[in-house]
Symmetry: C2
Subunit: 419 residues, 2 copies
């Protein structure tokens, strides 16, 4: 694999998510050679994945070829392959085909995988929502359920087909439930003849006490009301006991459903297990105040794969903002090392959090500021469009959104691939 | 399945391509119940499939949910299922799960499937290009070849990865070869570090004497020159003897390649074989002057699944224009039957043909008019945008195109799914 020219230090960045991308960008003018490795060929705007899953946007709208983003940054090479193992002593990373890459600094941003709490067999029946492929699987299952219901005369079978269960009421679960509620109540309203899509039941289940637990309780309550307005049935304090073909067991109840989506848990990428350094209970690598592994200042872990304790905010959440700031911080540490300056500790700057619940409704929390309803939704729309700059023509995306949100149209509800 | 109300005759339309769609639309105000059945959930703008395969457009840009197109036409129900067999005597069609649908009139527009001339085993190594799933497979193989070449140090292996073979130089093959040539020479130019995408070899093979055989010889010659300008090697009069993992045998030569695409042949859909009526050598159903099956005036076959002899043009080609006109004509015959008027014979009105060869170049032939180069390309762009009205926001599509063609950008080069 590409060995950097002698004398120029090599920075290997694993993962082209928000953290990896920021780190590579921040080293554009540093005297280093960079290699950015990812198992997919694209950077993904993960917070909008639920919009691909529910046909609001196409896959192209929220993803861009990673190498295209860096085509003019000449000190980085982009390699599409999956890093499976790191040998910290040898300063070497290995991909699935055994190819070795040596590094002087390593920035690990491999993200998380869907976690079924020891029930790996649930995965087949309740896909998660972490990748574009996941989103296309969820889209296919949701749309196919309506299609099959239209040609299924048996009322019980039809009811199961029109029951959608979302497990986990964090941001992904809430946004997904809201979008499916919109789909059933508005987008598909005129499209069927034998069924009325508004008969669809959308169930959002969570073992915790409230939806969006990272938000203030008042916003959780508002989000719940907004979900119910869209016909979503929210059940909190309910534990899922089993998931199988055509059913979910929630508490004492067995729910017949053909489309279950899992947004209840994640774990750090398996790669982290090969480091031999401490992981937390969710398999995330525990890092020091500078974001580096204890005993290995040349190895950073950034984004949701890292367990970071912040003096002001406690354990930081696995959101894009944290990943971006950690990525930039890792780059700053590398520049400090190059200049033989001391590193600074990482300090998170909280830009707040946002969740959207169907058309025109959102909740927003920035420090003491709390906003709900349409003003929060406008904020959400602006923030998201801003993020999309650079890898997507902003005008096109805004037109798409305008069309979807004001006309309830999703013409491109295309099913591709088989299960 | 949905039985029409007693007394209202039922028209079953199989296939939501150009022919099926036109037929259903033309019966919007007829006193009939319509069922439109397709094995996918979308109408596909097939002439632009090569643009999805080469990442010019996303899947959403050329496909639209069929039921969404007909949401306001209340006399049609759309069913997503595949019709596998027709019992002409019983006037009944059966899907893969054995569900029966009775009809008074049947309009068969099932299209064609890729034909490997008796070498079914070639399919795995040389996908065709008939569906969105096909296009995503071709896209994945083409983009993955560049990705793998970037991390492959062995020169021979790298050369094989950068060799693209397209078998069949009809419109699809020519347009695909041109688009891959554009991709290698312009779009990807700055994106790699270890390879130069311009080293890629694009081979277009055909057993016949010239490319685009349905066009005038002067336009074939011009198309060939335009292809060569894009770095495409055109080899006519060459027969493909074998296709296997990593190779194509063309004439006496064995070409090492990891991405072969088959655009050399098609056959009528297998469903036609269950009719028991005469088929031609390409498995297309032979129809009478009104487009109906001989002896079965209640059954029409339209589009490329039909073998139609036209008084002026001979056997009609399998293009969108023929399908649309036949679909409309079948609807007119049904209206004539309802009114107890005599049917007219089908007469094709030739609107000409167009093929595009990379950015800014096309060939156009309408009756005696022959156009090539940029003027033909402008005509192509206008015709295609016009077709897209109704199932896609024209403004968005035009912006996408403008971006792609003037800036050579294809940011959304997203690989989804595994092979």
């Amino acid at each position: 694999m590409s060995e950097p020219p002698a004398g120029v230090p090599h920075v290997l960045v694993v993962g082209a998510g928000f953290g990896g991308l920021r780190c590579v960008r921040a080293l554009a003018h540093a005297p280093v050679r960079l290699t950015l490795v990812d198992r997919t060929n694209h950077h993904l705007f993960q917070p909008m994945l639920y919009e691909v899953a529910t046909s609001v946007l196409g896959a192209n709208e929220i993803a861009a070829a990673t190498r295209h983003l860096f085509r003019h940054q000449r000190n980085v090479a982009v390699h599409m392959t999956g890093i499976e193992r790191v040998d910290l002593a040898a300063k070497c990373a290995f991909d699935g085909e055994g190819r070795a890459t040596r590094y002087d600094w390593l920035v690990l941003a491999p993200g998380v995988v869907t976690d079924y709490f020891g029930h790996a067999d649930w995965a087949e029946h309740a896909p998660g929502l972490k990748s574009l492929d996941d989103a296309l699987v969820v889209r296919r299952r949701v749309l196919m359920a309506f299609e099959r219901a239209e040609i299924t005369p048996d009322p019980a079978a039809r009811r199961a087909l029109l029951t959608f269960v979302i497990v986990g009421a964090g941001a992904t679960g809430v946004e997904l439930a809201g979008a499916i509620g919109e789909l059933a109540n508005f987008t598909l309203r005129h499209d069927f003849r034998a069924i009325d899509p508004r008969e669809a039941q959308v169930l959002l289940l969570d073992a915790g006490e409230r939806v969006l637990p990272s938000f203030a309780p008042s916003l959780s309550a508002r989000a719940r009301r907004d979900l119910e307005r869209l016909g979503v049935t929210v059940r909190t304090g309910v534990r899922v006991g089993d998931i199988g073909p055509g059913f979910v067991v929630a508490g004492d109840e067995r729910i017949a459903t053909e489309a279950t989506i899992w947004s209840a848990g994640t774990r750090g990428a398996p790669l982290l297990g090969t480091l031999g350094t401490p992981l937390d209970r969710q398999g995330r690598a525990i890092v020091g105040p500078d974001g580096a592994l204890p005993g290995h200042p040349e190895v950073f872990v950034v984004g949701d794969a890292a367990h970071v304790e912040d003096a002001r905010f406690g354990t930081l959440p696995g959101v894009a903002q944290v990943a971006m700031q950690m990525g930039t911080h890792a780059a700053r540490c590398i520049r400090a090392d190059l200049d033989a300056r001391p590193r600074r500790a990482f300090a998170y700057f909280d830009k707040g959090q946002l969740a959207v619940i169907g058309r025109g409704h959102a909740v927003l929390q920035v420090g003491p500021v709390r906003l709900a309803g349409f003003p929060a939704w406008i904020a959400w729309a602006l923030v998201h469009v801003t993020f999309l700059i650079g890898f997507r023509n902003r005008v096109i995306t805004m037109l798409e959104w305008a069309r979807t949100y004001f006309f309830h149209r999703r013409a491109g509800r295309v099913i591709v691939g088989g299960d």
